[in-house]
């Protein structure tokens, strides 16, 4: 990748370009690159593997390779315990939160990046301050609000709660992304007779695709994984989410590790897959300057 940034004035004039390839394969690379990477990969993957072994291994076996594989544990949790329903609830909450957070973050992020308005600094400060609010400590007043609003045992209620807690950070990130799209493009479209709204949809929005993927999947993963709100605000089993179902499984399946592992696989697969796909956008997007706001 070539850089066009100006070189610091103090550096000496570079000599003629050095040969592109290194002279020798540097043997120290094995110690400072491959060895730690392999060790860290083991630390990351052994727990996942352990879960897969338990999930696919018939009860009573102890071999480290789950062969022959069995789906009995998945049948137990999906149909017997109700993880099928929990999965559906988590999916509804995840997608719902994704949509609402992304739309509101786009609106607010655009406002912060493209307008100067009274109270802007206060608003930004308030957004940052929300990061210090512990969800766990808000359970008491939130429970009172949800009860009086009739939002207990409701998936809509959980989408609202997840949205409220995820929106501030999503909005800050999104405003960074919008700022990275040159405003001149939009202005040119407006000179050509577009309204601001049309200019946004025609010019800016297509450029924000990676940002939307990153912010949206953040919101999805956050809502999918949220435990405390679901635990506190949904007491009926048909409204349980996967983390709540899992937490009960932790207590009840103290002896049935196969079922616990199968439930874990059900909860892990969607988010881990989503994340594997979007982590690239995330790194690119953050690198493009969103971290610095």
């Amino acid at each position: 990748m070539t850089q066009t940034l100006t070189r610091p004035a103090t550096t000496v004039v570079p000599p003629p370009a050095p040969p592109r390839r290194r002279k020798h394969r540097d043997p120290s690379r094995y110690f400072r690159l491959h060895l730690p990477l392999v060790l860290y990969l083991l630390f990351t993957l052994i727990p996942f593997y352990w879960m897969l072994v338990f999930a696919f291994r018939p009860t009573g076996r102890t071999s480290l390779v789950p062969w022959p594989i069995t789906f009995e544990h998945f049948d137990t949790v999906w149909n017997g315990v109700g993880f099928g329903v929990f999965f559906q609830n988590s999916l509804i909450i995840g997608v719902g939160t994704l949509v609402v957070v992304t739309v509101f973050a786009l609106m607010g992020g655009y406002a912060l990046a493209r307008f100067k308005f009274r109270g802007q600094r206060v608003f930004l400060l308030a957004l940052l301050c929300t990061q210090f609010i512990p969800g766990a400590m808000m359970l008491i007043p939130l429970f009172v609000i949800f009860k009086s609003a009739g939002l207990l045992n409701s998936l809509t209620g959980l989408v609202i709660a997840d949205t409220a807690f995820q929106l501030p950070l999503a909005l800050i990130l999104m405003s960074g992304f919008v700022r990275n799209v040159p405003v001149e493009l939009e202005e040119a479209a407006m000179v050509d007779g577009c309204s601001r709204l049309r200019a946004f949809f025609a010019v800016t929005l297509p450029q924000l695709k990676p940002a939307i993927v990153a912010v949206g999947s953040f919101a999805f993963i956050g809502a999918w994984n949220n435990f405390l709100f679901a635990l506190m605000f949904a007491s009926r089993q048909d409204k349980f989410t996967l983390p709540v179902g899992l937490s009960y499984a932790l207590g009840e399946f103290n002896t049935d590790f196969g079922a616990l592992a199968a439930g874990g696989v059900v909860a892990a697969v969607p988010v881990v897959l989503v994340f594997a796909v979007v982590q690239r956008f995330l790194v690119q997007g953050l690198s493009a300057g969103a971290v610095k706001g």
Binding site: I133, P141, N226, A267, A268, Q279, V283, K292
Partner: protein, 291 residues
Amino acid sequence: MRTRTWAPYALIAPTLVLMAVFLVYPIASVGWFSLRQHTVTQPWKNGFIGFENFRRMLFEDQLFWQSLAFSAKWVVVEVGLQLVLGLVLALIVNETFVGRAIARALVFSPWAVSGVLTTGIWILLYNPSTGIFQQLAQWGIGDPGTSVLGDPATVFPATVITELWRGVPFFAILLLADLQSIPNDLYEAASVDGAGRWRKFVSITLPHLRDAIVLSTLLRAVWEFNNVDLIYTLTGGGPANQTTTLPLYVARKAVDSHDFGYGSALTMAGFVILLFFSILYLRLSKFGSRE
């Protein structure tokens, strides 16, 4: 674009409403509750009691100080280790090697796993009958021991490692993103000047990463302070309250003994402590002062 219109206000209106109802109002009501005796199971005793809750907290409640001390230890150890490992990991996957894309996706993946699921996975790994230590003992490595989560000597490291598994990728991702924004020219110029690998790391990489490190450690410290999911499900605060953090103590006051008044006072203490240390940290680190 400097315009005097209603447009920006309309655009932030949904966010403002949500924040007002679900963040600002609850904080205010926590403040109000903290000055009251308010127990759901004994409503006849409810009423305004001034600073009595705070007096009880500061002077009579041994568990408050104990949980606060554990919270501090937890935050320092977790954030410190996550930062170091995350930085090393970011530097590694920033190098060019075959299979880098897959390696990145794999080492970052625990980030997407919830606290409860992390507990589930590690309980399988730690369990005293078919866990990893028993497996290793079968191969003649180490001592099978007892339950690592039940033994006061091992419960802290076991919990720390579990949270590390999920927490390191956060730092690795953020720092990797920042590493990629360092202009290559700087390293090339340094090479020309004869700087070694370590020298380049100290004089180019670290100064460039400073703001990102300050911001990510601060955010992470707040999150780890407030972390309840994992500890609640992994140890439940035990054995013998050894791993009870302040938020976990609050959650137990609220859920088990329905003591909303005292729980709110504990919450206010948590807020004030977080705010104080955050401001102190930003001041000391001179965040954002580099131009």
